[in-house]
Amino acid sequence: MTVPALAIRGLTKVYGNGFHALKGIDLDVPQGDFFALLGPNGAGKSTTLGIVCSLVQKTAGEVSIYGIDIDRDFAKAKYHLGVVPQEFNFSQFEKVEDIILSQAGYYGMSLREAKPRCDQLLKDLGLWDKRNGPARMLSGGMKRRLMIARALIHRPRLLILDEPTAGVDIELRRSMWDYMRRINREEGTTIILTTHYLEEAESLCRNIAIINNGEIVKNTSVRDLLTELDTETFLLDLAAPIERAPELDGFEIEQVDRAQLALSLRKGQRLNAAFSQLSELGIDVVSMRNRANRLEELFVSMVKDDNARAGANRAATPSEETPS
């Protein structure tokens, strides 16, 4: 059996201010996977990835990268790792090419070895014309691509992308998706992605873990996760405005505004049945779309349920400061 690209056991992080960012999480990412780590802000995603990349010190637990325990030989494990952080973390005054070549040097790659690889990455990521300019002159999307090129210079087997397409326009986002798919498929690079665009996770990733309040609340395949979705909401644009939402037998419907209704469809229900009733009431629908993508609805409901459970547990457990 092959070792996972990333194996995490009992990973715990307590910050200096007492904040429990990670509460002993376990996670396996198989080799060659395209894996999404999702969670709301402050859930523990960046802390987890920060520990894997050695930017954050763990409190307890074990992390192995391609079977190499980071406590035993972090330097060796780091050779397998490429990191694209959430925020720009390069010198804005350096030349684009120098940033990538310096990174190669930090991995011990000679200039003769690194230069052809650097040229290829600059071309693949559409930065060739900008290679001799300072990084500060790049657009936001180009800066993100620069960080991807930098992370790939030493041919890592595991690439961590922390919100790589944040603030990137749709066209560029699609081209970055294509590129990531290509290196995952053709070079076998394992990719771990965190993103707030759940459409991105649904489109790119095979497996997914959802982290909330420092715990993994779900770890499964995207396909299995989507089968758990039992309600989808559609927005119906009406031909003529109405004063209030109609009552439909067996369907939940609410008014968004005078010209739009939100129709919730449970598993097994048919849209036709809803449309028939709307037609009988003289309401014409001119167009229709999902209110959110499917994964987003599931994600929101899971995080909501988990937060509600956490809240109930807190309420049931008296704190030390509660007078007895």
């Binding site: 910050y15 920060g50 990349c53 050695s54 930017l55 954050v56 010190q57 972090f74 330097a75 060796k76 780091k78 050779y79 790792l81 990191v83 952080p85 925020e87 720009f88 973390n89 390069f90 010198s91 804005q92 005054f93 350096e94 120098d98 940033i99 070549l101 310096s102 990174q103 190669a104 040097g105 930090y106 991995y107 011990g108 790659m109 000679s110 930098r150």
Partner: protein, 257 residues
């Protein structure tokens, strides 16, 4: 990392550091040259001609070693302090942290970069001084040894300062309020023999006095203090500061949460 890879990583960092301070030469190389020229003109030429001789040398020749040393100290310190803090500030320090480079290579790369600027500026100041006085070197080995060790020590000091700094103000406090007064009071412009006994005693606890005098000994052959003791003290300080900086780096002080 194997030894070849370590050398590549170290060389990469040094080249990057040298590229940085040469790219911004109007901020790094030009100002000390102009300032030191002013010192030579005002203190050496104009005032110095009225001061006469000091320790058997004319005043201009006497202050040259101190002024060279002053440039080396401030430039090696400031280079590492500002460069490493900029890396922290722009988070580009993460580029190094995620790489397999050992911490001693990171420290070594920045220190060598700081030394390159300190010694580079020292060389420029030396060349400028040749317009004002004849310079013959009494003891080349001591001269090179002292200036190199001083640049090393203050480059490490700048690194520690940058690790501890949280804002840009924090990297200018030490140069302004500690290094500059200690350098001025370190016998750059005078021999401590001129001071009353009490102030001579106080001067002896100033580490920069030892470096300036050891360097002056290398160039002129005169010193207020025993040179061998000064060299040993500087070497010990280098070892202690290097280990301290390395320990802080290993602990992730100021760079890891």
């Amino acid at each position: 990392m194997n030894p070849r890879q370590i050398l590549v990583a170290l060389w990469t960092l040094v080249v990057k550091e040298v590229r940085r301070f040469t790219r911004i030469w109007p901020q790094t190389l030009l100002p000390p040259s102009i300032t030191m020229t002013m010192y030579f003109i005002i203190f050496g030429n104009l005032i110095g001609s009225r001061v006469g001789e000091m320790d058997g040398f004319d005043y201009m020749a006497y202050i040259v070693p101190g002024l060279i040393m002053m440039s080396v100290i401030t430039n090696s310190y400031s280079n590492v302090a500002s460069s490493f803090f900029s890396n922290k500030f722009q988070r580009s320090v993460e580029e190094m942290m995620v790489s397999p480079m050992p911490n001693w290579v990171i420290l070594g790369g920045f220190v060598l970069g700081g030394m390159a600027r300190g010694l580079g500026v020292g060389l420029i100041v030396t060349l400028v001084s040749l317009f004002f006085t004849d310079l013959s070197i009494y003891h080349p080995l001591v001269t090179v040894g002292v200036v190199t060790m001083t640049a090393t020590l203050f480059a490490i000091g700048g690194f520690i300062n940058a690790l501890l700094a949280n804002k840009f103000d924090d990297i200018s406090i030490v140069p302004i309020f500690v290094l500059t007064p200690l350098t001025y009071l370190g016998g750059v412009f005078y021999s401590i023999d001129m001071l009353p006994d009490f102030w001579q005693g106080v001067s002896m606890v100033n580490p920069i006095l030892y470096m300036v005098n050891a360097f002056r000994y290398g160039i002129l052959g005169v010193s207020d203090i025993p040179v061998a003791g000064a060299l040993i003290a500087v070497a010990l300080f280098i070892v202690v500061f290097f280990l301290l900086a390395l320990w802080m780096l290993e602990r992730g002080k100021g760079i890891r949460s």
